[in-house]
Symmetry: C2
Subunit: 248 residues, 2 copies
């Protein structure tokens, strides 16, 4: 189909096609490695949505290359024009001293309808490519806070996707695959390490320093650090020196 051929084919393609949403973070890198292990020809998709730190997208590109995606597409959608989140507007990212301090409410880093927007774009990409499988790195740790990481949202989206699209209507349904949804961060890291994922290529921090070093104290950093500790795996994250002159 004209206009749908990947412009940069980085690896030979074989196997059933899948679209894998890749954020540059630890979770989606692991999911990409799992999809590769399961024999999928993976078309990685990242969204440049006006996030605070474009370093995420550079990480996603490196992960796509390292883990062996067929190609890596970046779609731009300006969620800063919408705002409403600490990740897309001038709202401060909260910092804590430990995971225990993270509250149970939906945090200010929630971006309105973000996973719905991302999945919709991934679905469009999948339909144009002829892929029926979409992989998304939502997980158990996230869904305590973010509504769009819960299994009931994923199931509802899958149903909607198959009513929204030509392929769904023609009886070639899409499957939304969330292989780490019920895993802890430590389990995810162990799985990724066993698949050879190089987590030094990934970034999780919501509030990195200008040189890309992780803050160590936002919710994402705290959960990631604790995950490496619990997994008994070395943490390759480069942390910034804190205001007190010590690394967190």
């Amino acid at each position: 189909m004209s206009g749908t051929v990947p412009s940069e084919v980085k690896h030979g393609e074989s196997g059933r096609r899948a679209v894998v949403l890749l954020s540059g973070g630890l979770d989606s890198a692991t999911v990409l490695a799992m999809a590769r292990r399961d024999g999928f020809a993976c078309h990685a998709l990242s969204v440049d949505y006006g996030q605070r730190h474009l370093g995420e997208l550079a990480c996603a590109a490196r992960v796509a290359q390292a883990v062996g995606a067929v190609d890596h597409k970046v779609i731009r959608v300006d969620l800063r024009a919408i705002g409403g989140s600490a990740l897309t507007a001038d709202i401060a990212v909260p910092h804590h001293s430990s995971v225990a301090e993270i509250g149970g409410d939906i945090p200010v880093t929630y971006v309105p309808a973000r996973n719905l927007v991302f999945l919709s774009l991934a679905l469009a990409h999948a339909e144009a490519l002829g892929a029926c499988d979409l992989f998304l790195g939502v997980n158990a740790v996230d869904y305590s806070g973010y509504p769009d990481c819960r299994p009931e949202f994923i199931r509802a989206f899958e149903r909607t996707a198959n009513l929204a699209t030509r392929e769904g209507v023609l009886g070639r349904p899409f499957a939304i695959r969330t292989p780490i949804i019920s895993m802890s961060k430590a389990e995810i890291i162990r799985a990724g390490v066993s698949l050879g994922v190089n987590y030094a290529l990934t970034t999780s921090c919501y509030d990195p320093a200008a040189d890309g070093a992780a803050c160590g104290t936002c919710d994402a950093c705290l959960l990631r650090r604790q995950g490496f500790v619990e997994a008994g795996a070395p943490d390759p994250t480069r942390y910034a020196v804190t205001r007190t002159g010590r690394r967190p």
Copy 2:
């Protein structure tokens, strides 16, 4: 909330807030007029998705102003990077000599997951604005061909929206309003005329001339022309001269 205040307030705002998806076409202009009639403070939203003719967006801006939207936001998302449609890739738009020639299959002008992407962005905008109502101009004539114009898709999306978002989870559900979904084109035009909609400000053509004149023979033009005839209303559309030197 920082970052969510409309930058261009064109009209005083009163009433319950709603987001209205505005394409620049006849249907969504009518829906905006209906939402205004029903007392909503309407935040119009258009999507610059890489469509063939940016004239649509200029029409949407004029309609928003004329019908009295509080503001009009344009969000960019590059669906051309995805392709897969005559509206976003190098695939020819089909032309016919009458409505009877339009086939029953999903046409090549179908854009993968377009209404799902648009509704997801409208939902994000609504949540950031504190609006619970989303208006969309899908209608009965469209849903013979496009899967994402059918009532079952709209219902599934609404359910998904209320699982995807903070507001939905906190018990302030979103409603997806499709007031023209079961109306014919003629009924829509009659309703719009009675509400004072100036259809000369709108465009429907999939394949306009360089000067913006409508082709008169794409599916959208044929349905629009027939609608004006059946409504007994003057058709204000400016049509291009055809290859044979006659207006269609």
